[in-house]
Symmetry: C2
Subunit: 435 residues, 2 copies
C-alpha cells in the first residue's frame, strides 16, 4: 500500500464542497505527511459539470453521472456534500453497497435516516463519518465517541445554531429588536432568506438528536425533541436577563437520569459569567458533563465553508489512516455496535422541573400582582424575584417574575390561566433558567 494514493469522489461542490476541495489541494503535502499516503480527488460529481466555477478544477474530474463513481473500483471514499435527504440517502446507500467508505456533512440525513445508514455501513463493513454534521469545524462528535468515551454523560448543553446565536448576540450588544437583527444576519449571510429552520430551533433539534444518539447509544427522532425557537425573545427579555445576571442563549439540552433522557431546545437564561455565556456571534459550543471528566467544553465555528470542510477532511484523514493500516470499522459510527441501538426513552416535557423567567404584559391597575401571585401560588409555583418598573404607553407594564424550581406542567397551566385575565394584553413570555 505504501505511497499509493487514496482516491476519493465528492458529490456536490457547493459551499462545503468547495472548502473540501481547497483543503485537499492546498494542504496536499501536510495531509500526506499526516496520513502517510497522498489523498487524490478523482471525481467530483455535480449536476452541471460545465458550469463556470471559481475553483480551478480540471474538467476531467467533473462528472454528472453519479453512478459512475460508485462503479469505479479505485474509489475508496465517497464524500457526500450535496445536502437534502432523499437523494443524498440513495447515494450514501449506493456508496456503502459498493464498498466505499462514506463521509457526509449532512445533519438532516443523519438525524432522519441515521439508523438505516448505520446498519448499511455495518453490513458493508465500511466507515460512515459525519463529524461536520454537528458543530461545524469543532471536533465535537469525535470527542464524544473517543476522548470522553469512558464517561456516562450527565448532561449536554449546546449552542449549535449559529444563526440564532448571532441574532441574540446582536440584539443584546447593539440593543436591537429581533427583526432588525434577523435582517442583519441575512445580509451578512448568517441567515437564509427563509430563516425558519434556524430560528424555530429545528436545526438545533436535529443536531441534538445526533449528539444524543452518540452519547447514549440510542435512536431518537428529532421531532420527539421539545423545540422552541428564538422568535418570541424580545430585546426587553435580554435586558431583564442582564439585570438578573443572566444571558439568553438558544440551548439544546440533554440530560440523562435513571435511563430516561430529557431532550429539549429552547431559549435559556444562563449565568452571565459561564463559559457558554461567553459564546458570541455565530460561534458554537458544546458543554459535556461526564461523570468522571466533569465539565468539558468545545467551542469554535459551527458553520461556514472552511470550518465545515475542516471537519469533513478530519473524517477523510481518519478513514484514510484506517485504510492505510488495513482496517475498516475500527470505530462504529455512533461509537457502539449498531445492533445494540434501542429507541430513546424520552422524559415527557410535562415532567420537567426548572426555574423560570416569566414576563407578564399587563395593564397597570391595583390587584394585578396580587392575582398573578395568587394563581402561581395555587399551582405550587414559588417566586424568587419580582420586578416591575415604570410604565409603557396606555398604562401598560411588564411584570417580571423569576421562580424557584417548579413543574413545567404547573407552569403551563398557570400561564394559560393568567393569559385569560382581563388585565393581560399580550401573551406571557416564558424563558427557562439553567444555573
Amino acid at each position: 500500500m505504501k505511497n499509493k494514493s487514496i482516491k476519493i469522489a465528492m458529490i456536490g461542490l457547493g459551499t462545503v464542497g468547495s472548502g473540501v476541495w481547497k483543503i485537499l489541494t492546498q494542504q496536499r503535502q501536510l495531509l500526506e505527511q499526516r496520513i502517510g499516503v497522498p489523498i487524490e480527488i478523482k471525481w467530483v460529481a455535480v449536476k452541471s459539470p460545465r458550469k463556470k466555477r471559481p475553483l480551478a478544477i480540471p474538467k476531467t474530474c467533473m462528472v454528472s453521472q453519479i453512478n459512475s463513481i460508485f462503479l469505479d473500483p479505485e474509489i475508496q471514499i465517497v464524500v457526500e456534500l450535496m445536502g437534502g435527504v432523499t437523494e443524498a440517502k440513495e447515494h450514501v446507500l449506493q456508496a456503502l453497497k459498493h464498498q466505499k467508505h462514506v463521509v457526509t456533512a449532512n445533519k438532516a440525513l443523519i438525524a432522519e435516516c441515521g439508523s438505516e445508514l448505520f446498519h448499511a455501513a455495518r453490513e458493508a463493513k465500511r466507515d460512515l463519518c459525519f463529524e461536520a454534521a454537528v458543530g461545524g469545524g469543532i471536533p465535537v462528535l469525535r470527542a464524544l465517541r473517543e476522548g470522553l468515551a469512558g464517561n456516562h454523560l450527565n448532561s449536554i448543553y449546546a449552542i449549535i445554531n449559529g444563526t440564532s446565536n448571532f441574532i441574540l448576540t446582536e440584539m443584546f450588544q447593539q440593543q436591537m429588536d429581533f427583526s432588525v437583527a434577523l435582517k442583519k444576519a441575512q445580509s451578512l449571510g448568517f441567515a437564509e432568506a427563509d430563516p425558519s429552520f434556524d430560528i424555530q430551533g429545528i436545526d438545533a433539534a436535529q443536531k441534538l438528536a445526533i449528539l444524543i444518539a452518540m452519547a447514549y447509544g440510542v435512536e431518537i427522532p428529532a421531532q420527539n425533541i421539545h423545540t422552541e425557537g428564538i422568535e418570541s425573545v424580545s430585546l426587553l427579555d435580554l435586558q431583564y436577563a442582564q439585570r438578573f445576571g443572566y444571558q439568553v442563549k438558544l440551548l439544546a439540552i440533554a440530560k440523562s437520569q435513571q435511563g430516561k433522557i430529557q431532550a429539549r431546545v429552547h431559549p435559556t437564561m444562563i449565568p452571565e459569567n459561564s463559559m457558554l455565556a461567553a459564546v458570541q456571534a455565530e460561534n458554537n459550543a458544546v458543554l459535556f458533563d461526564g461523570d468522571f471528566v466533569g465539565e468539558t467544553l468545545l467551542y469554535g465555528k459551527g458553520a461556514g465553508s472552511e470550518p465545515t470542510a475542516s471537519a469533513v477532511v478530519g473524517d477523510i484523514i481518519e478513514i484514510a489512516r484506517n485504510i492505510k493500516a488495513g482496517v475498516s470499522e475500527a470505530v462504529a459510527p455512533l461509537g457502539v455496535n449498531v445492533e445494540s441501538l434501542r429507541p430513546a426513552r424520552i422524559e415527557p416535557m410535562d415532567m420537567l422541573k426548572s426555574e423560570y423567567y416569566l414576563r407578564f404584559q399587563v395593564t397597570d391597575r391595583p390587584g394585578v400582582l396580587a392575582k398573578i401571585t395568587q394563581i402561581l401560588s395555587q399551582l405550587q409555583i414559588s417566586i424568587s424575584s419580582v420586578y416591575q418598573h415604570g410604565h409603557e404607553a396606555g398604562g401598560k407594564v411588564s411584570v417580571v417574575v423569576l421562580t424557584h424550581l417548579a413543574k413545567e406542567k404547573n407552569l403551563q397551566k398557570a400561564i394559560i390561566k393568567i393569559n385569560q385575565q382581563s388585565f393581560v394584553y399580550a401573551p406571557t413570555t416564558l424563558i427557562r433558567i439553567e444555573d
Copy 2:
C-alpha cells in the same frame, strides 16, 4: 477475538491510578458496549502490595515485580501511572519491547524522552498514547491529531497549568496578594508543598512542548521554550489590567510563521471578553487557530484524579478498539510518521514583537515621566496609554505604560536602562499583551 476480554496491567496506583481503577470497574458495562469486548485489569504493579488502600482491589491483582507483567503474554496494554522520568521510561521501553501497547499520563516523560519512546513504539509496531499528559481530562491531543488534522495551526494559546490559573483567579476575585492565594491553593490541594514547578511555568512549558511536537511534527526540548512564571505578578497588575479591559493569565503560546516556531510561557494580558479570559480557577483551556477551521477552543478540568483518569481510559478504549479491529498503529503517536520528525526551528525570544504592559515603580518627582518616555522613544517603543494615579507611602508611585507593537529586544534594553535611573525604587514589571 469476539467477547474475549482485553487484559491490561497498571503500573502505579496513586491519584490517577486510583481514578483509572474506578472508571474501569464502575463503567465496566458501558465500556464493553463501547469497545465490543470487556476490559480486564489483570495486574496492578505497586511498590508495596500489602499497603492498606481505600479501593477494594483483590490482593491477587497486586504485584511488586514489574517485570512479571511484561512477561505475561496475556497483557496487551500497559498503563504507566507511576510518574517520574528515569524509572517510568525504563518500564515504557520494556513494555514496548514485549509488544505491549502503552498508555501514560506522564507529561515529563513525554516532554523529555518523547522522541526516543516514539521510535521504540514504531519499532515494536505498538501504540503509545498520552492524552492525559496535556490538559488532563480535555481531549486536546486527540483533537489536534485527528479532528483538526486538515489544518496548519497558525497559533496555539493554552491555559495548561491549573495551579497558576487558580492562583490568578483567586487573586483577582478575592483581591488577594500572590502569597495568600498560593497558601489557599496549597490548602485546597491545587498546589504542591513546593509549588515552583507550577508557578515558575515549567509544567506549562513541558505541556506546550508536547502540543508543539504534535501540532508541527517536530522535536522540541521544553528547556528551549522561553518560560516565565506568575511569581512576579502582583494584585496591582491585575487591577490595572482590569482598568484597561484585560485579564492576566499564564499562557503557553506557540505561533508558526515561515517554518519558524515561536514558543513561550509567560503571564499575558488578554481581552476580558475573550473565551480564554472566562477560564476560571483550576480549569484549563487550549485555543487552536487553524488556517481553515479558525479558532477552536477546548476547555475542562486539567488535573485531578477522575478527569485525568478519564483521558487515560479514552486512550485505553482507542487501543482496545484497534486491537479488536485487528490493527495496531493506526495513528502514530504524534500523528505523523516518527521518521519525519525534525528538530523545531525556534524563533529567538529577542525577535518577538508584542504589545507590552509596563509598571514602573518610581519616586514621584518632576521629570520622571519625561525621562521614562524619552528612553522608550529612543528605542522605538511607542506608547498607547499612560496611567499614573495617587501616591503610595514615601512619595512612591506606579507609572503604568501600555505600548504599541514593539521589539522584545528593545523592550528589555529599555527596562534595564530605566531600572538604572535613580528615581526607580523597585524593578519594573513587564506583562505581554495578546489581543
